[in-house]
């Protein structure tokens, strides 16, 4: 234990005094995760199934505007904004924001629109009765309609499909309210012809219902947002970047002669080696703690959603530990194979970049061509990433993430075995 503790302390001191190493292990990953999350936010949102912001100005605040807004809300296609930067919208400001390209669409419901609609509905009904010689006590002018105009402002860059959706939604909900008003008018006027206090009451049951179903098995893929993708991805990338300080440390010991001293000490080499591994393993764990904390607490200040890590912390710990183990084992393997610092940094870094891009760390797998998606399953970095997705997006438990955790552990074990086998072969030579 004394030997292990001594090795542990020695490694910690070496690491703390390696300013470049500390920079690459802690400072650079923080910057990387922060920057990547922000710059990829727009790109990922453009691809993801995201609500379209829509400006909405309804100064009369009556039935027509309320019904249309409710209908648009129910489509879940729009985020309806009635004020911008704390200021209530009016027709001019709404048009200006859309013209400036800040919002793709804006809807203006004019003052008195509902009253006009009611008046028009009444005129339609009265005129219908008048045409067949029935007149009620209502002497309202049945001629001259004041057509209600709803203004829809579009950014010229908006696609026709969006225009069709907005026009259709407004047309549909306007038609519904017009229909209701007209039928109410008929009921009210017909009630005048009924004896006594009898009232005609027309109720519309749901006559058509839509049965939405998938023609084939639905794709259960949940698309992560920028934070959900970038924070775990670049954290994994940073963890595997440990190959640089770790492999360098192994190589420097070999080059500097300290390896010779360690090997010539009694029952020491394995202890010092384990001491080194434990330190770097803890470094990976600390990296995760720092970067995930940044995702949870700092990223939301930029206006991007914060990292949600689910509720299965035991499973999260297991995934983080397995990933740390794999990263350290990979670093050890590279340290064994490489004979110089330059080799370790160049080959190690290129390998990590290849594995990371293959594993969907740079760009989520879902956005890759279908053929390429099959290849990603072979990258060891994709396994912990999938585990993180399961934990963060689906709130999965340990049972769900276990297969990928197992693969990650297997990869780490394979790296260690390869490193030791290579070392043993070299020693025999």
């Amino acid at each position: 234990m004394n030997k292990f503790f001594a090795s542990f302390v020695k490694e910690v001191l070496l690491l703390i005094r390696d300013k470049a190493g500390m920079l690459s292990l802690f400072i650079m990953p923080v910057i990387l995760v922060f920057v990547m999350t922000i710059i990829e936010d727009t790109a990922l949102n453009a691809i993801a199934d995201k609500q379209i912001p829509m400006l909405y100005c309804n100064p009369e605040n009556d039935s027509l505007g309320i019904t249309i807004k409710k209908g648009l809300d129910e489509t879940r296609a729009f985020t309806i904004l009635e004020e911008v930067n704390g200021e209530k919208l009016n027709k001019a400001s709404l048009q200006r924001f859309v013209a400036e390209g800040k919002y793709p669409v804006g809807i203006f419901i004019p003052q008195g629109a509902t009253d006009s609609l009611k008046s028009n509905a009444r005129k339609v009904v009265l005129k219908t009765f008048a045409d067949i010689g029935l007149t009620s006590g209502d002497k309202a002018d049945i001629n001259g309609f004041d057509s209600v105009v709803i203004d829809i402002f579009y950014d010229p860059a908006v696609k026709n499909s969006l225009k069709a959706v907005v026009d259709g939604a407004i047309g549909q909900h306007s038609a519904v309210i017009v229909g209701k008003m007209v039928s109410k008018m008929y009921s009210d006027i017909l009630s005048d012809f009924l004896p006594g206090d009898k009232k005609l009451n027309v109720n519309y049951p749901t006559m058509i219902s839509i049965n939405r179903q998938y023609a084939s098995e639905p794709d259960n893929t949940i698309i992560p947002n920028s934070t959900q993708h970038n924070v775990p991805s670049w954290t994994l990338f940073a963890m595997f970047f440990i190959v640089i300080p770790l492999a360098s440390s192994v190589i420097q010991e070999k080059d500097g002669g300290t390896y010779m001293r360690l090997v010539t000490m009694p029952k020491t080499y394995v202890t010092t080696f384990v001491g080194k591994m434990v330190v770097y393993f803890l470094v990976c764990m600390i990296q995760v703690a720092i970067l995930f904390s940044m995702g949870i607490y700092i990223i939301p200040y930029t206006g991007i959603p914060g990292l949600q890590i689910g509720t299965h912390f035991d499973a999260l710990l297991v995934v983080v530990m397995a990933s740390s183990f794999a990263a350290v084992a990979f670093g050890v393997m590279m340290g064994s194979f490489c004979t110089s610092y330059q080799q370790a940094t160049s080959i190690g870094v290129i390998l990590i970049i290849i594995l990371a891009s293959m594993g969907g760390l740079w760009m989520p797998v879902y956005y890759m061509p279908k053929g390429i998606q099959h290849i990603t399953a072979f990258s060891p970095l994709s396994w912990p990433l999938k585990s993180f997705y399961d934990l963060f997006l689906r709130n999965a438990d340990l049972n769900v993430v276990f297969p990928n955790v197992f693969k990650t552990l297997l990869f780490g074990t394979g790296c260690f075995i390869t490193a030791f086998a290579y070392k043993a072969i070299k020693k025999v030579k």
Binding site: N2, K3, F5, A6, S7, V9, K10, L13, L14, R17, D18, G256, G257, T258, M260, R261, L262, V263, T264, M265, P266, K267, T268, T271, T272, K427, V428, K429
Partner: protein, 250 residues
């Protein structure tokens, strides 16, 4: 193996993979308890390989080595406790202080607490480093690095100290201190095996020397005896040049 033989090397061979020529070729020699034995030779003679096998760094291709009666093949871990190694390279962590390096090495040899502190203090005082314990090794001069490298090999009071060119690249004062100290250490009964290119130093220090060239022992004996056996030579260096030639080595 005679009673006072502490190291016995029998027909030792080492051929590195990919090389046809052996680095150590059928070497046999004895080192006696309490002597200073010099293993001398030009570059590439096989001195460092022989020392590395003694320390357990490499396994021999053929032959046997016994240290204090223990086989290098079977009892490697026990042998490591008996030997203190002072490698040619400064085998210390440059970014750690002298004290941190020595504390780590001492603990690796099983020393701890007061005993470890006493050992560090004792050897650093002797070798004039007690004021520099808190300084990082990478700030040390060449001479200081050599001395701290020596302290690191002595902390656990080994019965055999193996020094691979311990005075290379140091100033005269540091060399004098190291040589003086090795003499004193030897007087306490510690066996010293020493390699060097400084033949004058070896002539003064060693009770016996062996010349190696091309992996073989070409001669062994006391420096005085070797000079006597070669009347045309006045110094050990002249004997060395006579026997190994003046051709440059890689």
């Amino acid at each position: 193996m005679s009673e006072n033989t502490i190291i016995e090397i029998i027909n030792l061979c080492k051929t590195y993979k990919g090389n046809h020529k052996p680095a150590v070729d059928d070497v046999s020699l004895n080192v006696y308890q309490g002597e200073i034995f010099g293993l001398l030779g030009p570059n590439g003679a096989g001195k460092t390989t022989t020392i590395s096998i003694l320390c357990g760094l490499f396994a021999p291709t053929k032959g046997e080595v016994y240290v204090d009666g223990l086989s290098i093949r079977k009892d490697k871990e026990q042998i490591k406790n008996i030997i203190g190694i002072v490698p040619q390279d400064i085998a210390l962590y440059p970014s750690l202080t002298a004290y941190e390096n020595l504390r780590f090495i001492g603990r690796m040899y099983g020393l701890k607490g007061k005993e470890l502190k006493q050992q560090i203090r004792k050897y650093t005082e002797i070798l004039g480093l007690d004021d520099s314990l808190s300084k990082k090794v990478n700030t040390f001069s060449g001479g200081m690095k050599r001395r701290i490298n020596l302290v690191a090999g002595l902390l656990h009071n080994p019965r055999i100290v193996i020094l691979d060119e311990p005075t290379v690249g140091v100033d005269v004062q540091s060399r004098n201190l190291i040589v003086q100290y090795l003499h004193n250490l030897n007087k306490t009964g510690t066996t010293i095996i020493y390699t060097s290119h400084y033949l004058q130093e070896a002539e003064c220090m060693c009770s016996r020397v062996a010349f190696m060239d091309h992996g073989k022992i070409i001669i062994k004996g006391s420096p005085k005896g070797m000079i006597a056996d070669n009347p045309d030579c006045k110094t050990l260096e002249e004997v060395f040049l006579k026997l190994t030639g003046i051709d440059l080595r890689d």
